[in-house]
């Protein structure tokens, strides 16, 4: 165990838990760094943050952050975060989880948390596959891409996450990548300060699974993020992800709406009068 590490982010991390479990070239380390960097720059009170995650590689993120943290069951990060936010509105839950966890088994929870406008931030690492369990295809795998369960190419149409979450009612929706680090960090800062349901999709390479099977090296995958992702203002429905085509990233939604806790508080006051 490391006794003391003199690093400006050491207080934000559980230093005794490093090295982390993620593969070389995985984007989750960059997402974790961007998250704690955002907390650092905002001088955020760490006692007011609860980091919540589901299952999978991204699910391990909650265990490395020096906040209250809950590593929940597969797909259920949002119900737990919803419980935390509604039972103690002073707390700010931040959900860090993967696309498989949040949009397959957890998809129902996600759309309803967005619909209810629960005051929390979701950072969704999208690596297009179920990385931890062997790179099987999932609800975000682009058409034609190879995985062990789609050896001749994926035949299922993927979700467009920013479009789905926008239509479910999220008050802040953005998409960045682990190549666009300053933008990602700034987006997380905005999400942390936003009063409402905020969602940030982060495109992130899975080098060991998805990359290997599609003959993409870690360098290729990072270069793809640099070259194919364009920052542009479009309607979320247009921001689809298709192999060989440009991917639109940036901010898609930023609106104000009363949160669930705000409305619950008003109704509770009315009921008790």
């Amino acid at each position: 165990m490391t006794e003391h590490i003199d690093h400006y982010l050491a207080d934000y991390l559980r230093m005794d838990r490093f090295p982390h479990i993620w593969c070389a070239g995985c984007g989750l380390g960059i997402i974790l760094k961007s998250y704690v960097q955002a907390l650092y720059e905002l001088e955020y009170d760490l006692d007011k943050i609860v980091t919540v995650s589901g299952i999978g590689c991204a699910g391990r993120a909650s265990g490395y952050v020096n906040t209250d943290a809950f590593h929940t069951t597969h797909g259920r990060a949002l119900p737990f975060a919803t419980g935390i936010s509604t039972s103690n509105p002073d707390l700010n839950p931040v959900v860090i989880s993967g696309d498989g966890d949040l949009f397959a088994i957890g998809g129902n929870h996600l759309i309803h948390a967005a619909r209810r406008n629960i005051n929390l931030l979701v950072i969704c690492s999208n690596n297009y596959n179920y990385g931890m369990t062997g790179a099987q295809y999932g609800p975000t795998t682009p058409l034609d891409m190879r995985t062990p369960t789609s050896p001749y190419g994926n035949i299922e149409n993927p979700f467009n996450l920013v479009s789905l979450v926008s239509s479910a009612g999220a008050t802040m929706v953005s998409r960045w990548t682990v190549y666009h680090v300053p933008q990602l960090k700034n987006s997380i800062k905005r999400g942390l300060q936003k009063n409402g349901f905020s969602f940030i999709e982060v495109l992130s390479p899975c080098t060991t699974g998805y990359g290997r099977l599609n003959k993409l090296s870690p360098i290729d995958m990072m270069r793809d993020l640099k070259e194919t992702c364009k920052i542009r203002k479009v309607h979320p429905t247009e921001a689809t992800i298709e192999p060989g085509k440009e991917v639109i990233i940036g901010d898609f939604v930023d609106v104000e709406r009363p949160t669930y806790s705000d409305v619950l508080d008003q109704v509770s006051r009315r009921a008790s009068n």
């Binding site: 265990g63 943290a69 809950f70 929940t72």
Partner: protein, 305 residues
């Protein structure tokens, strides 16, 4: 914050994964299962007692669970309070295993004054956040529990974890953790066990029942006594951990035991194991209604011969 959920069997089926998480993370909570007939969608709104084993074994892995079975509207109130107290004391999910017959019942209910209700709250950490080890238990085997937001900044996971709460896949940690999670309930079985005895002194035939079935069984025992048969009733108020010791004490000198439950054979197996080699007559009852006093009386008569 204390938490409770209420559902019936199909709802519990959906929740089982997170009940396992509650056992593993030692999250106190109360789960009400108003049992209806199954399997699957079965008999919505019609009574059964067929989730007794689901409650005990539904979540995967080695677990111990606490379950209480009310037999009246008053007990629904009293045992819900008690279920919260047990869940806080042992940091574990506690089931209130009721049945649709009790769930639909209209009965007199006396709600005690607030100050008369005994409330138990979980042990809070007495150390500073810096020294807090969220899964370090004292001699009670139950670790003190901080709240999110209290500044303790602890990590909780469904993975096998060490005293810091950190994932640890070693054989030693798994062994130590699972033993503690189970033993904190097992060693307290006598404290947790709740039963009611009706005319068990010197009885020759013992009836074992719980929930709505116990009401019918109490009538059957009265009827048997008026015929001169020395019958008694052991009503199980707590079903899990199974009150094995209590049952074998009460059944020590009886000729036979009658078990009545609204299923096709669940708790009866626990009874058989506990009273061996005393003969056990089983009354399985499927579909909406508990066995009638006459049905139970017929079995009592047979064992009394």
């Amino acid at each position: 914050m204390k938490a409770m959920t209420a559902t019936s069997g199909p709802g519990i089926s959906l929740m089982l994964e997170n009940i396992g998480l509650a056992v593993m993370t030692e999250a106190p909570c109360v789960i009400v299962n108003v049992m209806r007939g199954g399997p699957s969608t079965g008999q919505p709104t019609m009574g059964a007692q067929s989730d007794v084993m689901q409650c005990r074994w539904g979540a995967h892995g080695d677990i111990e669970i606490i379950a209480l079975a009310p037999q009246s509207v008053q007990e629904c109130f009293d045992l819900t309070v008690h279920a919260f107290n047990l869940s806080e004391k042992y940091r574990t999910p506690v089931f209130l295993l009721s049945d649709a017959n009790i769930g639909h019942m209209y009965e007199k209910l006396e709600i005690p004054a607030k100050e008369e209700i005994e409330l138990v709250n979980r042990k809070k950490p007495s150390v500073s956040p810096r020294d807090y080890k969220p899964y370090l238990a004292d001699e009670t085997m139950v670790p003190p529990m901080a709240c999110f937001g209290d500044g303790y900044r602890f990590y909780s996971t469904g993975l096998t974890h060490n005293e810091m709460g950190y994932p640890d896949m070693s054989v030693e940690t798994q062994d130590k953790l699972v033993r503690r999670l189970c033993d904190k309930i097992r060693v307290n079985i006598d404290k947790i066990t709740m039963t009611e005895e009706i005319m068990t002194d010197g009885c020759e035939v013992l009836v074992v029942a719980y929930g709505v079935t116990a009401r019918s069984a109490a009538s059957a025992v009265q009827m048997a006594r008026s015929e001169g048969i020395k019958a008694g009733l052991l009503r199980l108020i707590s079903l899990w951990p199974f009150p094995e010791g209590k049952l074998s004490d009460v059944a020590n000198d009886v000729k036979g035991v009658v078990v009545a439950e609204m299923n096709y054979g669940q708790l009866v197996r626990e009874v058989e194991r506990s009273v061996k080699p005393i003969p056990v007559e089983f009354i399985p009852k499927l579909g909406e209604n508990p066995p009638s006093p006459d049905e139970i009386l017929a079995k009592i008569r047979r064992l009394a011969q």
